[in-house]
Symmetry: C2
Subunit: 370 residues, 2 copies
């Protein structure tokens, strides 16, 4: 697919986002972390979690008071291998960055480390955190809860978040094995994408309170907001095609995200108070870091992981299939395609950028304005 | 479903299996571990991994020389938090038991521990190992590779094992959260069950070399043996219903099972030499143990995990659905149903038990003989 949207150079977008975050009261050092997390998503071609979310998920929430611009991180418990932090409704991305810095140091000394954050907010792509471990030559595992939208097997009520269970592992290739996705078959961002593209959502991914499959993307979004439909776990409704397995993975993330810290979970994360007014999100995340040097060494790990990926890609393709990918490969290719061009920005994001620039009278002139 | 098969009391079956393992040259202490692992599967109602496998997967393999009755465990690397062991083609269940004993001790002191075993054989239900952690008040995570049977997304060639990714976590309920299943939608044992029951395998779970879905259970088993069809990952063929996610989970297990130890993987695990003769299985397993006392405490963990399970079960059911389960609940109920009765044994297992008893002239008389 040829990109028809205009690009904004990476450096410019990064500097602009830092300036805007700072204008919203985020300390510049923290703003740099947040800009990098959001842009990393765009670098990987995961546009659902990139600069499209800059305003609605971060700036607007700072403005409405459900996300505090200054992240007052509190260490609630620390041992040589573990760390629990209260993010006090500050930036989940800042809290997670500080967490991973410390866990990597711990895993350098002890081989294994684990942490949990509670009272947090959206932490961006889970794969950013696991990639921090991978860049340090380690295995990263992370997950987060989120507002309830996924029904358990045989259920129709939105109970669990789309709960990513993410693993990034070093390989001897140009890119790591990076598995970063929701444990539901689909997540909200993809349905929003279908709606914007005028496409139906494939059948069997969304269930109504009446137990029926819904495919009208616009209607799904409306019913989701009203709590009258839910996403189905990976494997679909019922048990015949393994839906209980996707449900199990969702529940694992739900438990690990809350139980290690004793933080909130499921309906407590609706973002709404009982009277319907806006509430803090109070999300929970978990992180594990495993250092292969404490097993048979990083080089051994990388070679084996790389060889597994290569053999998978070289295996016999289905008739009509062009390629077999391994996890993280598409993201790597998106970066190759974009690294010299910049972030592609559609019209709605262009409008947001201009409005933010003008609001704070920032000295930027975007390429798409010429 | 009312059980029509006769039962053998747990104690009798346990003693019998130990005697038979011992007659095959397994040291009695090791035999007791293996009998307990196999019977735990029956206790949980997971009959695909219980005493039905006693003869074909363990005794027959000892006899043919692909599984050594005496497990010469070698510690290849050990640190305060990690352990790598070479099982030298001995009993995977014995190796895994020794591994978990040590990892639990490590996690008592350090909060986190991880291990990997290579050159191993079938380790029974993954959930046995994670439950050892749970009984010690910890979180257990384990997985294993297996002979190649699962195709990657857009592929048709059996490359990965059915690779369970298993988590057992303590709760404040009578039973833990126990998620123990293959990362493919279906595993071989279930297809064998469909065939014995004269049932078709549901569509979309198995793919032929021609890229077609196969449902004739007998034909699937035949084509599988010939390498002409493969199991599909959780989420099915292609990407539309999330098949790349199931593929990702399978690949994670494939990598973790081999790369931490530098052991064999995928096609190297076919159990056949190039000339078609039988080869050692050389499986790899991984284990992680996380001690909640190093986070916010076991009681906090249990309460939160239990409450999440209770709320999931109490959520709104789909029309026509009787119950919503949480992972491990059905296994717990199977045990409640069976604990006073014993192991249900069908005709083929009865025959095997009698033959083994007579072969070694063991002093047992089974209830089904009267």
């Amino acid at each position: 697919m040829t990109e028809t949207r205009p690009f904004v150079p990476w450096d410019m977008m990064n500097a602009f986002m830092i300036d805007v975050f700072a204008a919203y009261g985020v300390p510049r050092e923290d703003a740099a972390i947040c800009a990098d997390v959001l842009l990393e998503s765009d670098r990987r071609g995961i546009e659902s979690h990139g600069c499209n979310r800059f305003k609605p998920i971060y700036l607007d929430r700072i403005e409405e008071g459900t996300l505090l611009p200054v992240t007052e991180l509190e260490i609630v418990k620390e041992t040589p291998t573990t760390l629990v932090m209260d993010a006090h409704n500050g930036l989940g991305m800042v809290a997670s960055y500080r967490m991973m810095e410390r866990l990597i140091e711990k895993a350098k000394v002890y081989g294994m480390a684990g942490g949990s954050i509670f009272n947090s907010t959206h932490y961006g792509i889970a794969g950013y955190w696991t990639t921090m471990a991978e860049k340090a030559g380690m295995i990263g595992i992370s997950g987060t809860n989120a507002r309830p939208s996924v029904a358990p097997t045989f259920g129709v009520e939105p109970m669990m978040g789309t709960n990513p269970l993410t693993f990034t592992m070093p390989t001897d290739e140009a890119f790591p094995f990076n598995f970063d996705c929701a444990t539901s078959t689909i997540q909200n961002g993809k349905i929003e994408y279908y709606e914007r593209s005028g496409k139906e959502t494939p059948p069997g991914l969304v269930i109504t309170s009446e137990g029926e499959s819904l495919t009208d993307s616009g209607r799904i979004l409306k019913e989701m907001r009203a709590g009258r439909c839910a996403l189905l776990p990976l494997g679909g409704a019922g048990e015949a095609s393994g839906g209980y397995k996707g449900y199990g993975f969702s529940a694992i993330v739900e438990i690990l995200s809350a139980a290690l810290s004793g933080g909130p979970f499921m309906k407590q994360l609706s973002g709404k108070k009982e009277d319907g007014s806006k509430d803090m999100y109070r999300l929970g995340h978990f992180f594990f870091v495993i250092n292969p040097e404490f097993f048979m060494g990083l080089e051994t790990f990388k070679e084996t992981a790389g060889e597994i990926c290569r053999e998978l890609r070289a295996s016999e393709k289905a008739p009509g299939a062009e390629r077999i990918y391994t996890a993280g490969e598409k993201e790597w290719e998106a970066w190759q395609e974009r690294k010299d061009k910049g972030v592609p920005v559609g019209e709605s994001i262009q409008k947001e950028l201009i409005e933010l620039r003008d609001k704070f009278q920032l000295p930027y002139r975007f390429p798409f304005e010429s």
